[in-house]
Symmetry: C2
Subunit: 566 residues, 2 copies
């Protein structure tokens, strides 16, 4: 491929709305073009990277006995009504009517289609276990598209679904898929990927992991123990709080705290740190608008996913509070209305002599001892983990909080979909059984962006060899000189004859211009043919990561390139 | 891949609603599963065929300097408003609103996206010519989905768009693409493919060709000359009618023809053949409901596409006729109302002494001589070509009418999209120019179905080697016997080690059952390991097309298979 006819421009500067480095580089380098909010076209360099990533994924899915299939993008709503998700999922599921006025959806995930495909055919135990997967376009009507291909509305995804007779068999396969994912990300050249325990959310099921690229641009917060293997996303992370100080025992005493609304103000007023406060955080239940008050140690935050899971209900932070029930700013556990649901976080266990609201405007209590002053307190763990907190596995105070981007996920789904959609098989004894499912996703476009995010310098992406759009770029400086043209074209031809993918820059541009474009192309190996090099009988060979830059005799150029590519 | 775990069942009988052989075989063979009207999931054998077809297409598109890109499936309506097609295309374009209440469309073709991708980047003449293509899911809300993958609503398509500075350059590239298409279909193993001239329809542009698989199940009617290379679809076919008889000259005379409404009845009444009638066919113009009367020789039909193109207006056959203007059943050219548009087909030229309506209930004329009896007659060619008609190229009476399925098309688009969407480049003289475009499509799923339609017997598909889901099927009869199992597994392993794709049937089923499944898999070469064969020291090797069936010594099996695959 010649750069002169390659569609896509390289730009010196990124548009101002690029908030993420990989997005800026992929716009500047002529990889992607926005068509609408969260909707992109891909230029050839990006599409070639996508094809390579897809092939790596395909090989690894086939290696764990995956069967590649294809599900539709557009599905009848009836299928999603069978699972109940047509009604339970919000507006990220795009719904519309076809010309016959039938309700349809755009696939954002394909559990329903997978069960439908298996339903008439996996009816006997001899078929199990099996895994089917596809690589296909999906659409999720994201409210917050951002970061180029990092968070989009339309995306290419590999999604896989496995079907099992026993939980043990699912767990064994889940482990195989976990390892396949590690191989996929390693083969794509990613270094800082960790798998974290996650909350299964709307997918159903109990056990799930997210594969995260650790990066400051991540929107996910991860809890990681450097001393052991504990890794979790914040939503699923256990928080252990140890209150092992000697607390002086004091009486519960009312103090006058006029116009004091925040913990910070209160700390100043009473001269104590936030950890000695029993903080109230108020939520309302979506379905009936009732109040939930969480009491938690003053230096900690509520993990809303844990609270939601504990309550089994959707909740949201209370924006306004019913003043007949609660006195905003002065809510405390002693004497709180019996008409609100109260949750005590485990961080309060063992802590005494705390400051809390007095349920009366402009008053707080000091000296709170929950076990002494409140009847029947039961603790629930709903606090967010914190940096330096206690690892729930190794018990050391070694937790770190990091940011990550999710590039893959694996779920043990259980029978959520097979049960309601009527997928059954006959076992050895002629009994009807419901298969247990797993599902496994990788966003291909996001993976591409993440590779760029991790592997780059100030000048452009440094594509790993396994996914680079081309393997070698031949730069002909002054291709208008016959000797340069001849030498460069021979090199291109010889490399292509060996099966090497070559991008050939023969444009009449300056060396500086050509090299800054080459940095944006990010191709692993570069060969520079120029009048000066030809006079010296050499070709300059350099790597994109700037680790190698040598002049080699012309006849050794191919061997050197092969060496650098291997 | 083992048949025992392969998802998808084979069935003895096809569902009653299968009207096309390929559809019946692909349902019976476990290739496709309907999800909704015109929407299918593909099982692994079909997806493997699709991947192979896509790779053939990709190689041939790359070989004519194509740049693979990816456009979105979901596009903002604003893009389609730029071209005017958001309003001009009917309900086959699926429109909907996203969560932000923005109008969106599902891509059924991607001219707009291609121009949008090129618009900021192909701004100088040095970039031209170039061709970009994608292989992607499309959705067209077809009212009449039929025949399995033959006519669907959601489909995988290769669509390509080329951009040129001159018409000559477009024509040269068009010819290259034409040849690439011939190579693609040949490599996919199709034999009866012809390219026909076609009407460009809603795509715009002037010259276009459709690549048609000749098959009785086709919905397209083709006009083909066996004596020369003339090939056209019916819509675009020229019709030449020669009236070289000696017609007796007679007076225009009124005859009483009560209750005679059809040409057939009239033929009987006046004792003459249909070709001696001047038939009236009435249409109404969509936009203003006005009448158009076409006079045409009684034995011919009107080609509505040609009429539409001549009028430059959308029309439809008149269901009811304004009786104040026209006397239905008795319409003729003499004395017809001046308030209707009249079109004379060229088939009437040179014909004399005709029978026609008298524009009066229950009366016809005989002895019509148009040039004599009607003032200012001008002829237009709007008749359908007929079998045995005159070839417009070689002039012989050699036209044949055949049925075909469209598997690809190529269009010279001209500047229809580049003009209105503001794609411009600067030429050598610094002038702004509008590029000329071509576009080129292949439906991948339909191609797969067409291969099955053409290459099959009563027992199943006979997949050509180039696209077969696997290359070899190893059938182990009595895999429960250790010697059989060992021999079959070694064969599978040895073949796979050589890079051969193997389907391995190790199920404990009868030979008849296994072989009828194997016929439905349609894999080119079959190797049968059985107790009897092992006793004889042989493996039976057979081809799916039943042309080869031999016992070869075990140690020669691999060599024989290689020979058959090459």
């Amino acid at each position: 491929m010649k750069v002169s006819v390659l569609l896509g421009e390289r730009y010196k500067n990124a548009p101002a709305d690029c908030i993420v480095e990989s997005q800026a580089l992929m716009v500047r380098g002529g990889y992607i073009k926005q068509v609408g909010s969260g909707i992109y076209s891909l230029f050839t360099p990006a599409q070639r990277i996508m094809n390579k990533i897809e092939n790596i994924i395909r090989e690894e899915m086939d290696a764990i006995d995956g069967q590649e299939v294809l599900f539709p993008v557009v599905m009848p709503a009836s299928l999603w009504r069978e699972s109940g998700r047509f009604d339970s999922i919000g507006s990220e599921l795009l719904r519309f009517k076809d010309r016959g006025n039938n309700d349809m959806v755009l696939g954002m995930t394909h559990e329903e289609a997978a069960v439908q495909l298996a339903r008439d055919t996996a009816q006997t135990y001899t078929k199990y276990p099996f895994m089917i997967y596809q690589i296909q376009t999906k659409f999720r009507d994201e409210p917050r598209a951002r970061g180029g291909l990092i968070r989009v509305r339309e995306f290419t995804m590999k999604d896989a679904y496995s079907f099992h007779r026993t939980q043990e068999d699912l767990e064994e396969y889940y482990e195989r898929c976990y390892k396949a994912y590690e191989r996929i990300f390693a083969r794509c050249g990613l270094k800082n990927v960790v798998a974290v325990k996650s909350d299964s959310g709307m997918m159903g099921g109990k056990v799930s992991h997210e594969f995260m690229l650790l990066t400051d641009i991540g929107e996910d917060t991860l809890v990681i123990c450097d001393d052991c293997d504990y890794r979790s996303n914040m939503e699923a992370a256990d928080s252990i709080t140890v209150n092992d100080e000697k607390y002086p025992v004091e009486e519960l005493s009312e103090i006058y705290t006029p116009n004091i609304k925040t913990i910070d103000q209160l700390c100043g007023k009473v001269g104590r740190k936030a950890k000695y406060f029993c903080k109230a955080v108020v939520y309302r239940v979506n379905e009936d608008d009732s109040h939930v008050v969480v009491f938690i140690r003053g230096d900690l935050e509520v993990n809303e996913t844990k609270l939601r899971n504990y309550l089994g209900k959707e909740i949201h932070p209370a924006v306004d509070i019913d003043e007949d029930l609660l006195t905003a700013g002065f809510i405390g556990p002693v004497g709180i209305s019996k008409d609100v649901k109260v949750v005590y976080d485990a961080s309060l266990k063992g802590a005494h002599n705390l400051v809390c609201g007095a349920n009366k405007a402009d008053y707080h209590y000091t000296g709170l001892d929950l076990e002494r002053d409140v009847e029947g307190v039961e603790y629930v763990s709903v606090a967010k983990a914190v940096s330096g907190g206690v690892c729930p596995v190794c018990g050391r105070r070694s937790l770190k909080i990091k940011k990550g981007v999710e590039i893959g996920n694996i779920f043990q789904l259980g029978t959520k979909y097979s049960e309601v959609m009527g997928l059954r098989y006959t076992d050895e004894n002629g009994e009807q059984q419901t298969p247990i499912m797993g599902c496994y996703g990788i966003g291909v476009g996001r993976l591409c962006a993440c590779i760029c995010q991790e592997s780059r310098d100030n000048y452009g992406p440094i594509w790993p060899k396994s996914v680079a759009p081309w393997q070698v770029e031949v730069c002909a400086l002054r291709a208008d000189e016959p000797a340069v043209k001849e030498c460069a074209e021979k090199l291109v031809k010889d490399l292509e004859a060996m099966g090497v993918q070559v991008l050939y820059d023969d444009r009449p541009v300056s060396a500086g211009f050509m090299f800054s474009d080459a940095d944006l192309f990010g191709i692993p190996v570069r060969a520079i043919v120029s009048p000066k090099n030809i006079d010296g009988g050499v070709i300059e060979i350099a790597t994109r990561d700037k680790s190698v830059k040598v002049n080699v005799p012309m006849e050794e150029a191919i061997a050197k390139i092969k060496e650098l590519l291997s």
